[in-house]
Amino acid sequence: MNYTVVNREVQIGDIYLTAVTSSSIFLIGDADVIQLASAFDTPPESLIVGPFVPLTPKGS
């Protein structure tokens, strides 16, 4: 399979960004391959109601 890309003139004005976080990339330029993945674990069970016991204490 052949795939042809023609990049004509690119002129950007002003970019306003608040934040780039968590292994993400803000790229002005070319790249061959970009592979990004993320796992975010905050299920409802992550909400613990009770006395403030340590999380995964030593020896458990």
Binding site: D14, S22, S24, F40, P43, V49, P51, F52, P57
Partner: protein, 134 residues
Amino acid sequence: MKRLSVVQLLNSKTFLLSSVLQIGDSREINARSNVLAVQRQYELFYGSEGEVVFPVFTKPIPTLDVPMSVQTYRLHESPVISVRSIYLIAASTASVVHIGSTSTVKGETRIKHIRQLAESTTFREASIRMTKDG
């Protein structure tokens, strides 16, 4: 050949937690971050916490294979990517702000977020609820 990146003005405030501002070309970027975020209703931290590994930090994340059968031809009619200005407040947690071209970018972030609240005074017996995966 890669294009030339021209940025006339970059105004950024903060780069923290292993984030990178790269001006110029690069070949390979590998950005990884593991975050254990614990929010408690009261200020309290036991020193030996988070030493047991949570599954979210060890489970493999499947990646999409890049099919080599696709022959890609890039024609740069204009060899320049031009940006007048960038206003960026912050880059954080192994992120990359890159002015210039690169070849391979791999990024992975794993976040475990736990909130701990004080129990209500009426149900003092039913105290702790912890998940199977920790």
